[in-house]
């Protein structure tokens, strides 16, 4: 997409479309639309040719499909409202919901079912390999008895709900200031280069995708990545932070994940324990003293 932008000097004057992280211009979108249009016209001429075999066409559509901030649903074979979608669980209750959905609903008063929208969407996302097809959102809307648009509103608001396909291991690189200062850009570049994908794109084997995230709240161990593991459904779902990573280390992590190895989450610096300083504590080495003002044992 950046390449498209640089080849189009005209798009300097075009307004930016809110899509992706602002790197796309209207020109690139128009270009992709043109490609789609060309595809449909060429399909008319040579109907035997599969449109998806044309790389330019698929990349044209992928601008839309892999744009995480696009607030619009686009029908595709694996994401359309006609696909059936149900919460899977062997322990079906009488009402037809799985036991875990019932458990979630039980946290909320029965007249405020709609409060369960975020937990249910989260569950649906875990179950569906890390992303929410529109039929899953419709199912959530049915369970909490609201109009589907109310669920779409929530799902589009939160960036952690993915509305397009992600890999089985969704790698999120923290891009906020402390991590950026400590080299998160290099880490993302290393990941993208190693996997041979663009941001928010899934690798060919469907195993990995790389996204960006805002502050994960562990700035003391910056830079860091999160690995959302959707390979085992909602039961085996894990969401782990790998901290103090280096460009070399993230590639190792990717390879370990690919081999199916487990590695302990947390800091990847062997000299640190959790968020303690490298090489052990330097201050507060003794037991903390009781407050001098009163005698705690006396009470």
């Amino acid at each position: 997409m950046r390449a498209v932008r640089s080849t189009h000097p005209a798009n300097l004057f075009l307004p930016r479309v809110v899509c992706g992280r602002g790197t796309k211009s209207v020109a690139s979108l128009l270009l992709s639309l043109e490609l789609v249009e060309n595809a449909s016209s060429s399909r008319g001429q040579a109907s035997s040719r599969d449109s998806s075999s044309n790389p330019s066409i698929s990349s044209g559509i992928s601008i839309f499909l892999h744009c995480p901030e696009l607030c619009k649903h686009l029908d595709s074979p694996d994401n359309n409202p006609d696909l059936p979608w149900k919460f899977s669980d062997t322990n079906k209750e009488k009402v037809g919901y799985s036991i875990i959905v019932k458990e979630i609903l039980s946290h909320y008063p029965s007249n405020y079912k709609q409060s369960a929208v975020i937990p249910l969407l989260d569950l649906a996302q875990q179950q569906h390999g890390g992303w929410l097809p529109v039929s899953a959102m419709n199912e959530v809307a049915k369970i909490i008895e609201v109009a589907p648009i109310r669920v779409y509103e929530v799902a589009t608001f939160y960036s952690m709900f993915n509305r397009s396909k992600v890999g089985k291991y969704h790698l999120l690189v923290c891009g906020t200031t402390p991590c950026m200062v400590r080299g998160s850009r290099e880490i993302e570049d290393a990941l993208l280069k190693h996997l041979g994908v663009k941001r928010n794109e899934v690798t060919k084997d469907g195993l990995f995708s790389v996204g960006e995230m805002e502050c994960m709240g562990c700035c003391v161990n910056a830079p860091m990545i999160t690995v959302a593991d959707y390979s085992n459904g909602s039961e085996g779902y894990t969401y782990n932070y790998y901290e103090d990573v280096t460009p070399k280390r993230v590639v190792e992590i990717v390879e370990m994940l690919r081999r199916g190895e487990k590695l302990p989450p947390g800091t990847q610096n062997p000299k640190r324990i959790r968020s303690g300083p490298e090489g052990g504590n330097t201050t507060l080495l003794s037991e903390p003293k009781p407050p001098p003002c009163r005698d705690l044992d006396a009470c």
């Binding site: 930016r16 479309v17 809110v18 209207v26 607030c71 619009k72 409202p81 648009i149 608001f157």
Partner: protein
């Protein structure tokens, strides 16, 4: 929003300002450097010696309970308001117009545009007046530098991403953002980044979207959810990527969707048929009445020269509040198509030939005089005004015939008791109801504004709705009790569970559809409904909950004037039929040698069988009296000149009567109205609702059996019900796109 008021307030040099010269700039005002200090100075400078201001937009204060009154101060004026008012409402009562984008008095409060910021004493920050309840003793300041600076800041943020395309924007000239930026906007922007742009949405053939102009006030989302009852629109995404949309590709399938055009404060949602047609300052507004259904919505016809450019709603709290249906709003292009220009006579070859009025009237009079009195039939159309129906009835009576009726009232209408055909509860009275029983009526398609009122009631007090008729979507929760008279009988006998809902309700309402007038067993149905009303205590001295929902604009006045056929099978024996705009009469059984006059404004169904065509003017071109379904008399006013050689309906009949040698005794519309006074005086009390004086208890007992065939739907296609809407291209598009099953 009073542009002049806002602008003058903004432009007025502040008298407590140190500098005499008012510099319009964002940063360089000394008093803005320390707004708190200068506002303190302003507080001392403002004395309540200014002339008292009148409330904004006729805002009225109604105290439900006098003890609940609280006193607040708006710009120093002491003011009594009821508890629960917001700061913004208090300011409106005080005559201060607060700028706003997201706040709308008929929608829930969102508080997200922040344009209505005011200063409240002892509050650390400016407060959003639309969402802040007024508290006793609150000192509200709307005109201080702090409030002004806050609004200027908000305005700058709003304009940041708003395109500067006012010259090509249809909202230009009537845009809230444009108006308010005159008062609070800067003459230059400080934003040097790219403006965002948003992909337009396809909401159907009526609403055009330019989503880049959207300022995310969410009025349309709240309107669709709360008033229209179609939860399609939503606020998607967040931050600068936030946009209004449907997420999945979806058209807005509401019969009230056109109202989002009015409530959109910017040009994001505009009228598709009106797009790039005219500027609002070129248009002449005529305040008149809608005739496409029996509600009689108050409208303003905006015209330019001889052309109707658009139709907008007018505020009438008792009838349509400030909404109108899409049919009302967009049917106007039907007024330009398929019009009858000249009097025409069908020749021997079956083709119409244009003639002049003299010849046409002579031919009609000659044929008419040859026909036997009992073979003469007159049928008024669904758009006829009271004056022309009076003239038609008088004329045919003079010819010796009493077979005059109005289409849609059935073969044997009961015009004796007015309570038997009007909405006795009144449209605004429906808001007091807590239980509805809809019998053979689908208000959503028959009278969209009544449906909106029912929906409003249900949202306010969770009223129960039972519905008898073919399954339908009424856009609110309802119990579908059954499809026909069988269920009605069960309720009347108290066997049905819904009967207890009616009898336990405080203010139950029964609405019977006028579509049932056409049924043979209508008397039996009505007496069953009256039995339910009696048992369920629906009619009390202080409450009359038994209603009939009429279908056509002409119906109520026709029944008031006694347009009732003498015999139910007059069509079969007719030799001379006078169709005054009647297009939906079944002429199958008419003898082949009958002579048919079609007097009307559109070449619609009625013309196919006509021998002579007399062109008449449409509702937008004449002065006429209409009575709506609740019995409120209203008048249309001519907005545009008529087409071709057309004349007002009553004038044609008056001229014909003279040619036929039976001259009617009135020459002016005032003359007809004095004649109407002797028949139905309520038709002269314009803009007043005349309740029926006598209840159904006077009705003789009817001993007939109900036919158990289920009720049908009276309106098959909401968008096309009369000759104007059938000629409209926009309505045809709506029927094709929105009624797709």
């Amino acid at each position: 929003m009073g542009l002049g008021l806002l602008a003058s307030r903004a432009m007025r040099p502040l008298k407590y300002s140190n500098s005499r010269v008012f510099i319009r700039s964002i940063v360089s005002k000394p008093e803005l450097q320390s707004p708190e200090a200068s506002s303190a100075a302003a507080a001392t400078a403002l004395e309540p010696d200014l002339p008292p201001r009148s409330p904004v937009g006729g805002a009225r204060v109604h105290f439900p309970n006098p003890e609940d009154a609280i006193e607040v101060f708006v710009d120093g004026y002491p003011l009594k308001i009821p508890k629960g008012f917001t700061v913004l409402q208090a300011c409106e009562v005080a005559g201060v117009d607060i700028p706003r984008f997201c706040y709308h008095s008929r929608l829930s409060i969102a508080g997200n545009c922040r344009m209505c910021l005011v200063e409240v004493e002892k509050s650390p920050k400016p407060v959003a007046s639309c969402a802040m309840p007024a508290l006793p003793g609150m000192k509200i300041k709307t005109d201080t530098p702090l409030a002004k600076k806050a609004r200027e800041g908000v305005m700058e943020f709003l304009l940041m991403n708003h395109p500067l395309d006012c010259p090509i924007c249809d909202q230009g000239g009537e845009c809230d953002l444009q108006d308010q930026s005159m008062a609070f906007g800067s003459d230059r922007g400080r934003f040097t980044e790219m403006k965002r742009s948003v992909v337009d949405k396809n909401l159907g053939p009526l609403v055009k979207t330019v989503m880049t102009r959207c300022i995310q006030c969410t009025r349309c989302v709240r309107f669709a959810t709360e008033v229209a009852g179609v939860q399609d629109l939503g606020m998607l995404g967040r931050g600068s990527g936030e946009e209004i949309g449907t997420y999945v590709e979806k058209l807005m399938t509401s019969e009230l969707s056109g109202n989002v055009i009015d409530i959109c404060p910017v040009g994001a949602l505009t009228s598709k048929p009106f797009a790039f047609k005219a500027r609002n300052w070129e248009l002449k507004g005529t305040e008149t009445i809608d005739v496409t259904d029996a509600v009689g919505s108050n409208i303003r016809i905006d015209s330019r020269g001889p052309e109707v450019m658009r139709i907008l709603p007018r505020l009438n709290e008792d009838i349509n509040e400030e909404w109108i249906s899409d049919k009302t709003r967009f049917c106007y292009d039907g007024l330009k198509r398929q019009r009858l220009n000249d009097p025409m006579i069908r020749g021997a070859d079956g083709r119409f030939k244009a003639v002049n009025w003299r010849d046409a009237l002579a031919v009609v009079a000659e044929v008419m005089l040859q026909a036997k009195p009992e073979e003469i039939v007159g049928i008024a159309g669904r758009l006829s005004d009271a004056e022309s129906m009076m003239a038609l009835k008088d004329f045919l009576n003079r010819m010796g015939s009493n077979n005059v009726w109005c289409e849609g009232t059935g073969a044997q209408p009961n015009a004796d008791l007015r309570s038997g055909y009007i909405m006795n509860t009144s449209i605004s009275g429906l808001e007091k109801a807590d239980c509805f029983l809809l019998v053979g009526t689908q208000p959503r398609v028959e009278a969209a504004m009544v449906n909106a009122r029912i929906r409003k009631t249900i949202r306010a007090n969770n009223a129960k709705v039972g519905y008898i008729g073919p399954a339908t979507d009424l856009n609110y929760d309802h119990q579908h009790l059954g499809t026909g008279p069988k269920t009605l009988l069960e309720i009347a006998e108290g066997r049905h569970p819904f009967f207890s809902a009616i009898s336990n309700a405080k203010n139950p309402v029964i609405i019977v559809g006028a579509g049932l007038f056409e049924r043979k067993d209508k008397d039996a149905i009505f007496s069953t409904v009256e039995a339910i009303a009696k048992k369920g205590n629906v009619i009390r001295p202080d409450w009359n909950g038994l209603n009939v929902l009429l279908l056509n604009a002409a119906q109520a006045a026709a029944l008031d004037l006694g347009l009732v056929p003498e015999s139910s099978n007059s069509i079969e024996s007719a030799k001379f039929v006078y169709l005054m705009g009647a297009d939906d009469v079944d002429l199958e059984k008419l003898p082949n040698d009958a002579f048919v006059i079609y007097q009307g404004h559109h070449g619609d169904h009625g013309v196919y069988r006509a021998n002579v065509i007399l062109p008449a003017s449409a509702f937008s071109e004449k002065e006429g009296t209409y009575e709506n379904t609740e019995g409120c008399t209203q008048q249309t006013l001519p907005a545009v000149p008529t087409v071709g050689d057309a004349r007002d309906d009553w004038k044609i009949i008056r001229a014909l009567s003279e040619v036929a040698g039976m001259r009617l005794p009135y020459d002016t519309i005032g003359g007809i109205r004095s004649r109407i006074r002797t028949v139905a005086p309520n038709l002269l009390h314009v803009d007043e609702r005349e309740p029926a004086t006598l209840g159904p208890s006077l009705k003789p007992e009817i001993k007939s059996e109900m036919d158990l065939t289920p009720f049908g739907s009276a309106v098959e296609n909401f968008y096309m019900t009369d000759s104007i809407t059938r000629a409209s291209k926009t309505m045809a598009q709506c029927s094709a796109m929105l009624l797709k099953k």
